[in-house]
Structure formats: structure tokens, C-alpha cells
Amino acid sequence: MSVVGECLVAFVFGSVVGLLVQRSRFCNTAALRDAMLFKSYRNTKALLVAMMILSIGFPLFMTFGEGHPLRFDVGLNTVLGLFLFGVGMVLAGACTVSTWVKAGEGNVGAVWALIFTFIGMFLFSLVWSWNYWPPAPASMTGQPNLEALQLGFANAQTLQETFKIPAVVFGLVQAAVLYAIYRAIRRKEEAQQIKHDRIAASHRQPVAAE
């Protein structure tokens, strides 16, 4: 596909996603933060449903060698980087998606977060240019490289090649695990609801007695 075509497809995809996220108030940060702080799971459940669909879909395509999976080595930098990101997104109150969506709704704080995300990336580019870690994609080998704290590369396709089992089988297993988490959350919510109803009922009684 031509460069213009790719950019056009990406823009259309982004627009629909922006619209859906704006209308549903979905937030990835809230999906994690609210579950941890407030035991509220509205966004967490939505995130799990999307991941279940993708965990079956991506490996299904990859079984037949279709699609464009991400290709780069992972390692300690992946854990560290996402740790910093996790702290940052809760402090900023928005992740990468919601900064763009909230900026589109006229939220100046989100625009500010975006500006500083760019500045953070630029600062990192300076640090990287000094120590060259983590390794650049061009010098990645796909193999564990303990000196550079890299674990190499593995995904549904490499699993299929190694174990001679279709990639989609692994995907189905992951989807089942995600579904189990989803079920557990639903049960927890039902228990919360029963408790809530009981408290509400006990508060109503004195009013009725008056």
C-alpha cells in the first residue's frame, strides 16, 4: 500500500476510535486506577473485552502468517519504561489515548500533558544518544542479550514455530484467562451490588417509620 494510503487508513481508524472513546468516556488510565483505588470496574471490563477479541483475532491471522505484528526485542527496559509510564499516566490523569481525546474535547490540561510527553521523549533522545541503551531496532538480534539486559523476541508466531501448535491455540488460552478475570470482576460487582442494596434498604426504614 502507498504511503498516502497507509496514512489515510490510519487517520480514518483514528477518527472512529476518537469518536467512540469520546462518546463512551473510556479511559485506559481509569481502567487501572479506578480498579485499584475505588474498586470500580466500568473501564476495566471494556478493556478486557477488547483484549479477549484481539487475543483470538491476532493469533488467528498469525497462524496463517497474515498481519503485521510488532517486531522488536524486549527486556528490562520494557518493564522499567512502562513502570514510569504507569506512574505518569495516573499523575497526569490520562494515558496516550485520552490525552488526544480530551485535547479534542477542549481540555487544556490534556494539551499540556501532550506537550510534556513530547518534551519527555526529546529528553530521552538526548540520554539515549549518550548511552545507546536500550539497543536500537537496527541492532536487535531477536536473541537474549544479557549484557544489554535484553530478553529477545517471542510472540504467537515464534510459539507456533517452536511447538508446532497453531498460534490460535495459544490465543484461545489467553482469551480464556482474560475471560476468567472478567468473570471474577462480574462476581465481585454483583457482591458489591447486594451489599449496596442492603445498606440502602436499612437507610430507608427509619424514613418509613416517621
Partner: protein, 163 residues
């Protein structure tokens, strides 16, 4: 239209996004945001620094500024889509963080997100909607990192709420 009056169930929205992401995966690659943002940073740096940017090897070896990078347009699309949605449903208005402490938190949070994305090579979107569903080992590493980070962030947030 009803769609612009009521809040959409996030499960419906995310299921629709997941199906679209499957198509995007077949055409160019899964949904991601961090890569596009990095490219925008590079393009902006090039505007401000001009030829000086050649002195920062990162912009030659890891990301060569290129306006034809498709991931940029996902972000611009999200901004546009959200803007249209907000305008049509009459939810668009300028909102400013009220207190100085909010500005400070957003500044620190933004910086941490920027550094974190580049250090990890992935953002939260690639983690949940790309790497993990592709059963990439990095997905599990990234999720453990982001959960730990979100927990620490939540504890700081809680302290601030109480204090």
C-alpha cells in the same frame, strides 16, 4: 441522533475498536500511539533545531523524522474524531486545570509518560491492544510494569487526595 445524546457503553465501544484494530492489523499494523508521538517529537525537534538535529544520534538511528509515518495520523485522527464527537454532542468547551498542583502533576506525569514510552519502545495502547494479544513476551513484561506503576501512581494520588 441518539448516539450523540447518551453515553455509549464502553464495552460496546471497545468491542467495536477491537474489530477495527483487527482490520488495521491486516493492513498496516495494530493500533499504537507512542510511535506516532515520537515521530511528531522528531519532526518538531527538526523544525526548532534545523540541521543541529544531526548531532543527536537518536534521530538518525532509532527514529528518522518522516511525515509519511502512518502512526502519526492515528493520533491526529483521534483528536479529530473526539473533536467532532464533542462538538456534535455539545460537549466541547475549554477546560483548564484549576489549581497549581494539578498543573504540576500533569507536567510530571507527561514527562514520565514520554520518557517511559521511549525507554520501553511501547505505550499503553501497544501493550494492551498489540503486544499482549500477539502473545508477545514483551506484553507480559509491559503489563507487569504498567500495573506496578499505576499502583504506585494511585498511592501518590491517594496521598494527595487525603492530604
Amino acid at each position: 441522533m441518539e448516539f450523540f445524546k447518551k453515553t455509549l457503553d464502553p464495552i460496546v465501544a471497545l468491542a467495536a475498536i477491537a474489530v477495527l484494530d483487527l482490520f488495521l492489523f491486516l493492513i498496516v499494523g495494530s493500533w499504537t500511539v507512542g510511535g506516532g508521538e515520537t515521530m511528531m517529537t522528531g519532526l518538531l525537534a527538526k523544525i526548532f533545531l534545523g540541521e543541529e538535529i544531526a548531532r543527536i544520534p537518536f534521530w538518525n538511528l532509532v527514529f528518522v523524522p518522516d511525515a509519511g509515518y502512518w502512526k502519526i495520523y492515528i493520533s491526529l485522527g483521534m483528536f479529530f474524531g473526539a473533536f467532532m464527537g464533542a462538538v456534535i454532542s455539545k460537549e466541547f468547551y475549554l477546560r483548564f486545570p484549576r489549581r497549581l498542583s494539578e498543573w504540576v502533576l500533569i507536567t510530571i506525569g507527561g514527562l514520565l509518560m514520554g520518557v517511559g514510552i521511549r525507554l520501553a519502545f511501547v505505550c499503553n495502547v501497544s501493550t494492551f491492544f498489540g503486544l499482549t494479544p500477539e502473545l508477545n513476551l514483551g506484553g507480559y513484561l509491559a503489563i507487569s510494569g504498567i500495573l506496578a506503576g499505576a499502583w504506585v501512581g494511585s498511592m501518590i494520588y491517594k496521598k494527595m487526595l487525603e492530604g
